[in-house]
């Protein structure tokens, strides 16, 4: 059983065919990269799977359960989480609270109004652990809005990761940061995700990053899949190379 399967998923925006009968499968434990030029449909696909958008037709199956019409909250409960391309954090809360809140939300504790958040030692412990894993422990008392861009991206992933999803979507986790930071971020993200046995789908534009960290690469073009396979196979694929102008030449 695949962890995730879409069946003939379609979504149009006026004349634009963002998803054209997409059949996408993700296997448990994979670290998968979703690539393609701008407008190829990558973000739309992720938006459909995470309930940010509803499809025109088609099905989405998660662990063989039909989740096509499920709400955001229900899908999170089922085990799907995501981070965002434009960093989406709670800038007015501390780094610590950003993660702690994810835990409260996950465990259904957000209705608690008669006790201080700081008094929940379980939550505090777990928050410290996650922050340590992501290398953000030193910044935990700063406001999320005060972090540097690279750290914000890490925090964004950390918050999604804290929801302990089975399937994690990362939308361009390294966009907007310097090359040195990119490696740092991806090192952290891939090691945390793999050690946590979380299946990850990463939307990426930087092909260096893609080839270095992925188990499998899926390429989209104009709403459909163009290529799908391990990095070596993709590298050798001529059709792919002709689309990806400016990519680093096969080693």
């Amino acid at each position: 059983m695949s962890l995730l399967r879409t069946v003939e998923l379609r979504k149009r925006f006026g004349a634009l065919n963002a998803c054209d009968g997409v059949n996408f499968t993700v296997e448990k434990g994979e670290f998968l990269s979703l690539v393609g030029s701008n407008g190829a449909g990558k973000t739309t696909l992720v938006n459909l799977i995470t309930a940010h958008l509803l499809p025109d037709s088609g099905q989405i199956l998660f662990e063989d359960r039909d989740i096509t019409t499920m709400t955001v909250a229900a899908r999170i409960k089922a085990g799907i989480a995501r981070s965002f391309q434009l960093v989406n954090l709670f800038d007015g809360l501390s780094v610590f609270d950003n993660v702690a809140l994810a835990i409260f939300a996950r465990d259904g504790k957000t209705a608690k109004i008669a006790a201080l958040a700081a008094s929940d030692t379980e939550v505090r412990r777990e928050t410290r652990e996650v922050l340590a894993e992501f290398g953000l422990a030193a910044k935990s008392e700063l406001l999320a809005g005060e972090l540097a861009q690279g750290e914000r991206k890490l925090l964004d992933v950390a918050v999604a990761y804290t929801l302990r999803p089975k399937l994690l979507f990362l939308d361009e986790p390294t966009s907007g940061v310097s090359s040195a930071e990119k490696t740092q971020i991806m090192d952290t993200v891939s090691s945390v995700v793999r050690s946590g046995a979380v299946t990850a789908v990463v939307i990426e534009h930087d092909m260096d990053v893609v080839f270095r960290y992925s188990d499998r690469i899926v390429m989209m073009h104009e709403g459909a899949f163009l290529a799908d396979g391990p990095p070596d196979a993709i590298r050798a694929n001529e059709a792919v190379a002709s689309i990806l102008l400016g990519v680093s030449s096969p080693a």
Partner: protein, 336 residues
Amino acid sequence: MKAAAIALPRSPARPYAASVIGLAVLAAVPGFVGLYQTQLLTYGLIMAIAALGFNLLLGYTGLLSFGHSAYFGLGAYTVAFLLQWLGLHSMELYILLGLPVAAIVSALFGYICVRHTRIFFGILTLALSQVLYSLALKFFWVTGGTDGLRVPRPTLLAGLIDFAGSGGFPRFIRSYYYYVLGVFVLSTAIMWVIVHSPFGKALQAIRDNETRARFLGLRVRRFRWAAFLLSGTFTGLAGILWVPLNGLTTPDVLYWPFSGEIVFMTLLGGFRSFFGPIVGGIAFTFIKTYAVASTEYWQLLLGTVLVGLVLLLPTGIVGGLSQIAKRLRETKESAT
């Protein structure tokens, strides 16, 4: 409300220490000042409670209401009705029976309002408070119309203390001050717990980034509604405490400029801090008393200062002070 924060105290001990000192000062006040000042400060504490309630919605949830006079007025009129129809005199009964009324109407109005975006939310709150205002005017045989309804001195502590007879007035002013101070301390403590609870954190998250909050699985509308309910109830409590001191309730307390005053005092104190509304509520009460005495065009002054505040000092008194403190700390650190 995008970006920036509720100011985090540098160490958790600070606000507790400051509060204890503040409380001690407040408790000592009647011993040093005259009756009039004590009465004024009582009003200040009452407005502080109203502003504290209001800011749960603005500062912590990011919703700007222009209709909070509705809940204040509801509290006041409920007390008047309890007196008129049931002959009740006990302050405790006023609070016990008045709070649910404020809560129920806040729940109802909140249900209507929180389904909407900022602009519509704001005007809806204004419209709903105007409905109550026009009802108070129209049904004058019930509400006393523009003359209002009188509320004499209540009994405190379940009837143990009353203020009949000679010397009643000064005794009332002093006792009522401590009574209100007690309720104020209790309300502040409750509000502190609310905003520092997981619920409070969720509210702030929704304020900062509604999309992300949704993607954590939070039911945004429900949280906003709960915040609205709590906010209206707190402001209603202020109205309940206000009317026995004022001796009279009129439709003015439901009219939209009064909502403006609540907004103003919160802004004045600083809506991005917990204590800002308290400072604002007390400061505003004193400023207004002296300003109203000197000019007939109080609303004009209020509006002008409001615009000035938004332009020049959007973080209010507390925000401004903490910026100065930060500046001083930084110069001290760079000097050493």
